[in-house]
Symmetry: none
Subunit: 212 residues, 4 copies
DNA sequence: CATGAATGAGTATTCATTCAT
DNA sequence: TATGAATGAATACTCATTCAT
């Protein structure tokens, strides 16, 4: 086969991108290294030139996603013009949009096959997202919008509750009535968790289509 | 090798038990069928005499656990002498004790390898436990102890929040101070979610050692 | 399970019968001993009480069939009232009816899986049927109806040619026009092989439905 | 183990060759993939680098043989210098020589184990050889050497009769007297089938040693 | 005569990884 | 940088057969 040399960074990116797509479509365990290289059109050895193992590319893929999300969320958090409620809602919006954009439909079929990836993902979420969330909650406390004694724990709790919600929302993707109910429930529950004023948090218009 | 015949039920139980332990210790995918039979001291064929496939024993293992938990929780729910708060706390107690008893330590090392099992587990939890939890919450509403407009969603949310908590608690198993803080946080968060009276829910003495 | 004792011969017959059906439907290799016992409703061990091995029951099954056919053909051969042509045609009729009755349709799907059985069958045909056929041809020579210098070889040749024909006929089971042509071809070919008078052999009305 | 890279085509051929020999000696079903690779001295994976499954190599083996035979026969058929009788005899010569060269002795022991392969083989023979044979017969008709109303059916019939003969000839490999008789019988039978002039077809010097 | 639990050798197949070129 | 042939360990599953009861 013709040998096509590329800029190393570009090639590495290409591999990560391709792996990401395959992992999402077919699951991590179900994706063979040979699938990845075949999809790109390079040799088996090329993969191992850039990554020491299959594990390593899983890391690379996950890091890329996390960083993407974190980048967006950081922008929100650093925005001096937003109050805590706005930040909170926007952040959740980012999360849901991202999640719906990437995980919906197709991979529910493969969810079981994707367990390992999900788990790894969940770990990253916890370690990276919880602290950022906690910051927002603390800001809310200072602004008198929220009233929670345990910002970090609440952040953690809400984040996991949200993941449950997200799963449910995904399943109900075609049932607007039920979706609406879930979102209203979320309003109530989260408002209470955060000690916010009744009616100050509205999720109804969230979780819409990802704005790609 | 000497042939030791056993009562089929006994043998089946023995296999499930052994598989359970190995799955917990080394993870499902990392456990070969040959590991299971070797641990018992029977032939490979014996396994397949009782289970059609490796998948089937995963089901068996999970069902056994779920049923054990559900059995205990059902007793609580049906108890006419308990009010909703008592039921709620007792149920969570059952869950945490169970979880701590079975999952602590060892398998955190292997958690990633156990992802598939966890996922399957989570599915069962959702479908079986959420409705029971919702019943308790509804009872609490009727009794004036809780005040939630969305019992089912709240049950779901709280259950997943709890799983986050549980993970954290497990990691902190030797740090009483931090554990205490988590449990107090839980008091506040859940009390608010349920719309219960402040101070009516106390988790502090929960999550103790499993009473096996 | 309740133990049902039967007359040994009856039980043996039952096993052979069942095995025969399963072999025909699913092929010999594809039929497990456990399939046979399950179909009857007896224990695994029972099978080995009557047959030493799986090979042994293949023998039993084939012998039963061969004997059935040979019985019918013997009657024809011994019939003093028939001339060689009548015997010849009747014999082929028996064969084709038998073959069509037992092998048609279903097992063409499984033919490849049935190869071993077919082969064994072919061997029996050769050793048992060829001599009988040769006898008929010799009688025909004596009667001046046939004229062949090598009765045995001709018998052999014709028998195998017939098997080819039979395969083709089976495939053409719904195409009368083509079937007719094949049968006319057979008339010509066999007439010539036997050195019979043109028009003295007619196969057209053969290969009809088996008279079960 | 030392890693010996080869030209892929060469390696593939090597595998097919080795598989062919093992199949012939021990039978297809009785030959494990591990036997093949062990015989070559490569790793298990190497086999699956070239063939998707064990089935696939059976195909490869059979195709190679068939093509070899067909190649030789095609040359004969296309030869404008031969009349139908010469072509007919030469073709049968090719078949018998080939068959005797490859199948004799060893595999009669294992014939039963080779059934599946034989069957597959027979199918190919029918679909590929019959039409070529029929062409020769038609040419013979045109040349006034043969006189058959049903060339295709006769081709089919004769081909199968021949296979019977071949089996017999193989068994009689050391008995010249009997072989001679079989071949004379064949002269008569086939001459008649084809409607050829008496004495125009001679098989006696056929079926000799293969000229490898 | 019959049971049915237990045996265990046998095998196709996958795939992450290596390495000579 | 890149190739792609080669590696080989690892594993789920089948099934004819045995044997204690």
């Amino acid at each position: 086969m013709v040998r096509i040399s590329k800029d190393p960074d570009e090639r590495k990116s290409e591999i990560i991108e391709t792996a990401y797509n395959l992992f999402m479509t077919n699951g991590f365990e179900e994706t063979a290294v040979s699938d990845i290289v075949k999809a790109i059109g390079v040799a088996q050895g090329t993969f191992y030139y850039y990554f020491k193992s299959k594990e390593e590319i899983l890391d690379a893929v996950i890091n890329r996603i996390i960083n993407e999300i974190l980048g967006k969320i950081d922008d929100v958090i650093k925005d001096p013009a937003m109050n805590a409620i706005q930040k909170f809602i926007t952040t959740i919006d980012v999360l849901l949009k991202y999640a719906i954009g990437t995980e919906s439909l197709a991979n529910y079929v493969h969810m079981e096959k994707n367990a390992q990836m999900h788990q790894r993902f969940a770990g990253c979420i916890t370690s990276h997202l919880v602290p950022e969330f906690a910051q927002i909650i603390e800001q809310g406390n200072r602004e008198g919008l929220f009233n929670t004694s345990y910002p970090e724990e609440t952040a953690h709790f809400v984040l996991f509750g949200l993941s449950a919600l997200h799963d449910e929302l995904s399943k109900l993707i075609y049932d607007d009535q039920e979706q609406r109910k879930k979102l209203l429930a979320l309003d109530e529950i989260i408002t209470r968790c955060l000690g916010a004023k009744k009616g100050s948090l509205k999720f109804l218009d969230l979780g819409g289509k990802p704005d790609e």
